[in-house]
Symmetry: C2
């Protein structure tokens, strides 16, 4: 049986997953792909480090050219991460006519436009299923399964660290910082968790999904991004009382005014909605389409083997279409239109809002609040007052459609004027999901 | 721009959906496929009948050869249904080297082995995404997105009629026959609903999914199939009390003994499980895989445009890979192993069971029941007695792992012996989902 030789750049968690998967499911894969998939080389920093896989058949090299100039290597898998060396590697591989599979969402979100253009120019495939939502085949679903549809919006719970933290907050009485520490201890969060907690990782991923769904360039800079670091557990509790859970929701949506909103933000989701049932390290993506209607996919969004599942699916795609690589390469980045990205998307685009004020329990606060909201034409759908002690209350309200800008302006100026108001937060409610 | 000419066999609900979709999303599709997709001919019985689409650009013909011998036709879409004429049409198209898209699950489930062999032999694609779960791209997900995984089981809620009826039973106080009549009035059930109600439609679909997932021949005859016609609403009510909903569950599972269980049966599913949240006309498929773990997809399982979404996705696949049709054709039916189908799957394979006996409320019934169960080594996990009137009770119990055979034998012989027992039903509980 014909064999395809694969070189891995990087042999860490995901790389070891790829090697283990190819070994464990070798017979199925040979039958389904019609060839043997052999990892023959790997670029690693230290040849002596223990790997979580049998690497006895893999030649370790310490420089990229030893792979890129090797004519026996058919396909390259980039798993070193980062946006500099990884760029050079992918650029070099495409120029050498070697198809590339990568899981590097940061690189593609920040410099994907160049690389996709090079993939088209060299007619060499650049596949990236593993870059978004781990093992869920969401890239293929958007590019192929739902290809007949115009996408109206995509909403995703696509960061496992945030989702683990928010699920634990909803399930227990623990505070945010303790849950984060616990997530780090269990390997669900990085030692430096900022890329996850601040929403950057989700922003990378949603910018890729938006590019595919709306036929735009990948443009990470246009994602309006709010993390979960400032989220307080009182808000997840109150949201729960109102029938919602809080998720870090990545969203790409063509608005009524034609603008493209791409955002990541803590968002209230009705507990009865499917996205609310996505807990811990699971990921899910929901699309609203103009022909099929809603489409929902769920699966593991991270981890060695789930990510390897997507890397190897891309390898099989490349192998199955290797005699047609030129055309196959062109499936991917289809730019059909000016994006029309919305600036300040989260502030400007209408949504119902959850608003909480922490205030001194004095006469006049509620009167001033309702008067200010009425003046700003912000209409209240429900309001509850939670006494914290004899002097302080939390006033929690849900609004009808308004904008974050309107809420910030109206209540921000109120809290500046009234020393009785100590704290003001507001989060979007994902009404469009229903 | 290059154009691809498509001929439709049949221009009913789905055919009109295809024409409408191609018109509505024409620009997106031209950009994504790189060609115009034009329906130029359609085989119809009556050229005068009103169609739910603009057919002014379509030449109507009344015999298959007017399409099969037409060299301007690039692709054929078979939508006439049935297993005789449709077979001849697909056979003729493949022999003429014209790729085929079909939504005909009955044909593929009953005669697919021949047609897939012909597709391989003629190296001409035969695609059928629309045949299972309407607009959910589950065929592509299994064949491509999850290609790196060994599938452990697939469970699906894949018949909209059954699911509409069961969802309505769970939500209202109506009786089965009234809900069925209402479903027929609303177009969710056919005038002759037997293929749906008896599980045949789900059986067709799960036999296709099983063939793909387990690399076996399509073999509808080996699906052990139990419909929902005998399901009584007292059982859906009692199941609800125990925390379950009842779904018509299609299942394909490699059992511990190596046998392949393929079945359709009314099955109790924990209300907290995702599959329980699939209501009315929605479909969902869950797979357990050895690398990714669980994978879940949900979407509309029927209807004009959702089904057209899958038909057109197949058309785009064919177009994108038309220079590579030979290899592309071979992606599909991969027979890797003897199936090892389980005979009498539902009776022989272990599961927890829901059991209900309707009995006269006389001393000794419960003693005999528990004695018989103990004798048959059927262990009870919970039991509740529901008095219906002063003389009659329903005894409902959940068992630990046992077999349908054991339950039937033990309780069947008891009810034969004891005239006090009037009714005996048992349904599987989908414990493996958790």
């Amino acid at each position: 049986m014909e064999a395809i030789n694969i070189a891995l750049f990087g042999l860490g968690t995901v790389g070891a997953g790829v090697v283990n998967l190819l070994q464990e499911n070798a017979n199925e894969l040979a039958s389904r792909a019609g060839v043997r998939l052999n990892v023959t080389k790997a670029l690693v920093r230290s040849a002596k480090k223990a790997r979580g896989c049998d690497s006895s058949h893999i030649a370790f090299v310490d420089n990229a050219d030893a792979i890129l100039n090797d004519e026996t290597i058919d396909v390259v898998v980039e798993l070193i991460g980062g946006t500099t060396d990884a760029f050079d590697i992918i650029e070099g591989a495409l120029k050498a006519g070697k198809p590339v599979v990568t899981a590097n969402k940061a690189l593609l979100a920040e410099r994907g436009t160049e690389l996709f253009a090079l993939s088209c120019e060299t007619k060499t495939p650049l596949l990236f299923e593993a870059a978004v939502a781990g093992g869920i085949p969401i890239i293929k679903t958007l590019q192929e399964g739902l290809v007949a549809n115009r996408i109206e919006w995509i909403a995703g719970v696509i960061n496992g660290t945030c989702n683990y933290i928010l699920s634990t907050l909803a399930r227990t009485d623990a505070e945010f910082d303790d849950v984060l520490a616990q997530a780090q201890a269990q390997g669900f969060a990085e030692a430096d968790p900022r890329a996850d907690i601040d929403g950057i990782d989700s922003a990378h991923k949603i910018s890729l999904l938006a590019a595919i769904a709306f036929g735009t360039q990948v443009d990470f800079a246009h994602v309006d991004c709010e993390g979960i670091a400032n989220l307080s557990r009182v808000d997840t509790d109150y949201a729960g009382d109102f029938g919602f859970c809080v998720k870090s929701l990545a969203l790409a949506r063509r608005c009524d005014n034609g603008e493209l909103l791409v955002s990541v933000s803590p968002t209230l989701i009705n507990k009865s909605h499917l996205l609310a049932s996505v807990s811990d390290e699971m990921n899910a993506v929901m699309c609203q389409t103009n022909m099929l209607g809603p489409s929902f996919s769920m699966g593991r969004g991270a981890g060695s083997l789930p990510t390897a599942s997507s890397v190897v699916a891309d390898l099989v795609d490349i192998v199955r279409h290797r005699e047609n690589a030129q055309r196959f390469a062109l499936i991917h980045p289809v730019v059909t239109a000016d994006a029309g990205f919305s600036e300040d998307a989260l502030a400007k685009n209408a949504s119902p809002y959850y608003v909480r004020l922490r205030a001194q329990d004095k006469p006049g606060v509620m009167a001033s609040l309702t008067q200010v909201l009425a003046g700003a034409k912000i209409s209240i759908s429900s309001m509850v007052q939670y006494p914290l002690d004899t002097q302080t209350v939390d006033i929690v309200l849900l609004t009808h459609m308004t904008t974050g800008q309107a809420v910030s302006q109206a209540l921000g100026s109120l809290s500046t004027k009234m020393s009785e108001i100590d704290e003001l937060v507001h989060y979007r409610v994902a009404d469009f999901l229903y």
